[in-house]
Each structure stands twice: as C-alpha cells, then as structure tokens.
C-alpha cells in the first residue's frame, strides 16, 4: 500500500538543539494521524518539514512517495498547511488574499471560487475588509479557505480548533471528514486528545522531539 508519510530517522536541528531526533514512522495513504505532545515537543517542526517549509537536518522524509527536499516542486501542490502563521497579507482584504492564492494555483474562474469559499466559511460580509481587522477566529477560517482552494492529498492542521467558536469547531470537524472522504490524509496536531482521536486513525506522541508512548 502506498504511503502518505514515511519518515526514516528524521532529525531537525535548530542551533544547538534537536527539535526532532531520529524520528521514524509511516502513515498509509488515506489514513489520518493525530500528533500529540507538549509545547516544544516538535509537532510544529514536523508539520513544517512535511509541508516543505523546512527540511530535515538528517534522515529521509518522504511524502506521498516524494523526497521532501529533492522533489519539493512536485510535492508542494499536493500538501497544504494551516498553522499559527497564517501566511496572509495583513494589508490585503480576505478576498484579495484568497484570489492571489487562487490565481497562483491556476484555479479556473478564481473570483467565483473565492466568492463561494468566503460564503461557505461565513466570511462573505467581511470579504473586503483587510485581514488586519480580523479576529483570530476569522483568520483561522480564512486559512481554512486557503487550504480548500486546492485539493490536498495531505492536509496538515496545526491546532485547528484553537480560537474557533463552537460553530467553527463543528465546521472544522466536518471539513476534516470531507477531506478524508476525498481520500486525503489529515495530520492533526492538537492538545485535545479525545477529540483528535475521534477524527483520526493513528496517533504519534512526541516528547522532546522523539517518538514516545502516549501518557
């Protein structure tokens, strides 16, 4: 069976600290992974490595069979990351931000698609406000809209439930189910273990950048 993720002794160094140390695991395509661990245990670093925002200091990381460093160009269109850094331009409006991404992705009829997405995520009334005026929850919704512009085979969600209201959380859960139904692997990093386990198939617990037995 094809693997969505395959890590072989993946290590990442920041200055004089190992953020990830000889991490090995694999995830079959279509299965979803729950990533748990304390703050600073390496969850965000691992997600950034999978998203090719950063590369392993040592070891090999393959995503959908592509080497994350050497074949990053082929990989990037298939992976999407929603993280603490929202990637948005604060001075552009929600619509402008999304339509920039849509056009860069080559989405057909970008303005229609963007309008639909904004409506779906309840942002249509604020479509022409600059992101700078958005609340944290609205930024998260916008980041999700950005993810939905493509059809990712691997979706990386870093603390997706934080900052969302109950309606937003329900919508996020529905979104995860929808991505999974489309055959995507969802990697979910969250402190909410029970909720996360309900949404995913497998679990990876990190302690100090290493794989550890879940507490």
């Amino acid at each position: 069976m094809a693997l969505a993720l395959e890590a072989l002794d993946v290590s990442k160094r920041f200055g004089a600290r190992w953020a990830l140390a000889r991490l090995s695991f694999s995830l079959p395509e279509g299965r979803s992974l729950l990533l748990t661990g304390h703050n600073g245990s390496g969850k965000t670093t691992l997600l950034r490595l999978i998203a090719t925002a950063s590369f392993p200091t040592a070891g090999v990381l393959k995503v959908l069979g592509y080497d994350s460093r050497a074949q990053r160009d082929a990989l990037r269109p298939l992976v999407a990351l929603v993280s603490h850094a929202s990637f948005h331009y604060e001075d552009l409006t929600a619509a402008q931000n999304l339509s920039l991404t849509a056009r860069l992705l080559g989405v057909a009829k970008p303005s229609t698609v963007v309008d639909e997405l904004l409506g779906r995520l309840g942002l249509r009334e604020r479509a022409d406000s600059p992101v700078r005026q958005f609340s944290a929850g609205m930024r998260k919704r916008l980041a999700i809209a950005r993810l939905l512009l493509r059809a990712p085979k691997v979706a990386l969600l870093d603390e997706p439930f934080g900052e969302l209201d109950p309606a937003g959380i329900a919508q996020m859960e529905a979104l995860i189910a929808e991505l999974q139904a489309q055959g995507a692997s969802v990697v979910l990093a969250t402190h909410l273990v029970e909720q996360g386990q309900r949404l995913t198939h497998e679990r990876l617990h990190l302690e100090g950048g290493r794989k550890a037995a879940a507490a």
């Binding site: 290590s11 160094r13 004089a16 794989k211 550890a212």
Partner: protein
C-alpha cells in the same frame, strides 16, 4: 637583488600553502614555518624598502610607503577572492569548512584593506596635499572595505548558523561582483574631473622590492587566515555541539 628572487620565494610559499591544504600531516609545521619566513622577509623589507631601493623619481622618499601599501591592498583583494570562492562553494554544497574559511578570509581581508587604505591616505597627504582624494584606487578600496564590514556585521547579527552561512554567502557574492564595477565607475567619473598624476615610472629595483613586499604580506595573510579559520572552526564546534542522537527507544516503536 633581482626582480626574479621574490618570485622564487613566492614559489616556495605557494608550495607551502599547497602542502598545508592538501596534506593534514604538513599542517602542524607549515604555518609556523611560513610565519617565521614572513618575519625574516619583513626585516629584509625594511632594509630593502628604506635604504636599498633608490628614491622614487617624483615623490622621493615618500614613495617608499608603496612597498607596503600596495601589497596590503593586493592581499585584501586576494582574501576577498578566497571569500567569494568559499561563498560559491558553500551555496553549491553546504559545508561548515567553507563557511568558516569565508569568515576568516573576510575578516583578514578587512584588516589588510584597512591598513592599506590608511597608508594610502598617509601617502596622499604629502603627494597631493590632501588626506583624501578621488584616486580611483583609494576610493574603490574604501568602498570595498565598507562592503565587507557590512558582510561581517551581517554575520554577527544573524543567530542561526545555517541561515548565517547562506545569507552571508549571498552577500559575499553581491559584494564581490561590485568590486570591478566600483573600480570602473570611479575611474570613469574621475577621468572626467581631473587626471591625477600617478607614478608610472617604475624601475627594476622598485619592482623587485614591491614583489618582495607582496610575498612578505602573502606569508602573513596565510598565517592570519589559518589562525582565524581555526578560531572560526572552534566557535562553530562550540555552537553546534549537540547531544548525541541515541537510537529511538524501543518501547515507543
């Protein structure tokens, strides 16, 4: 002394440098030997430059500063060439060795360049009556120095070692590319204003002493870079020292 003698010594020094680079066994003794040779040559340079060489036709004794001034600037150029070579090598294939060598070359180059500019300014005062002039060589060297001071500042203001290596390599290439453009533009600009009379008459004995000075400074350049490189390497090792990576704990598998 003939102009060829310094070239013979030069061949010797270059052979030493090649030995140092290629054979780790030679490293122990080559740089002290070259350093000692440099000190001896410097002693001889004092005699050669101050007494043996005839006074320059137009500038008389003031012109004797050229024997150390010009070699200093040459060595700075050589060091910056080494620096850009290391930068290109680093961007092609990451290595802490080329990063450390680039840092060493830039810092030693800035030292030689600064001393060279200082001596150029001292020379300008009695020659042209001012401390500073639009001599293309003086201006270009100063601009070059500024560029590399910026390079060194960038290195010290970047904390992450890998980002520092990459960014400073990019800065090194941009700076080096600017050297010939600066040189041409200043000379061009200058030629439109006034033509500065520069010594063009150089006798055989003067060539010999100038070459002698250059080989002397090459010895020092080499020793300084070796020492500075060792320092950079030990700092790197301290900064990058990491707890060894143990094998993953089996119970977590």
């Amino acid at each position: 002394m003939t102009p060829t003698l310094p070239l013979v010594v030069l061949a010797l020094v270059v052979a030493g440098i090649v030995a140092h680079v290629t054979s780790p066994a030679a490293r122990r003794w080559v740089s002290p030997a070259v350093g000692a040779l440099g000190v001896l040559m410097l002693a001889a340079l004092w005699y050669l430059g101050l007494f043996w060489a005839p006074p320059e036709q137009y500038m008389s004794d003031v012109g004797r500063i050229l024997y150390v001034h010009v070699p200093h600037v040459w060595m700075a150029l050589l060091a910056f060439t080494l620096n850009v070579g290391c930068a290109v090598a680093y961007l092609t294939k990451k290595s802490w060795v080329t990063d450390a060598l680039a840092e060493a070359a830039a810092e030693v180059g800035v030292y030689f360049g600064a001393v060279g500019v200082l001596m150029g300014s001292i020379w300008a005062r009695p020659t042209w009556g001012v401390w500073w002039d639009w001599d293309p060589r003086l201006i270009s060297t100063t601009v070059m120095l500024l560029a590399y001071v910026g390079y060194l500042a960038l290195r010290s203001f970047t904390d992450d070692p890998e980002r520092r290596a990459t960014w400073s390599a990019a800065a090194a290439i941009l700076s080096y590319v600017s050297l010939p453009i600066v040189w041409f533009s200043v000379r061009w600009w200058n030629s439109l204003h006034q033509v500065q009379s520069n010594p063009s008459t150089v006798d055989k004995p003067m060539v010999a002493v100038l070459r002698w000075g250059a080989v002397t400074m090459l010895c020092f350049l080499f020793v300084f870079i070796v020492k500075r490189y060792e320092l950079a390497r030990s700092r790197q090792t301290a900064a990058l020292e990491l707890p060894p990576l143990e094998a993953p704990r089996p119970e977590a598998a």
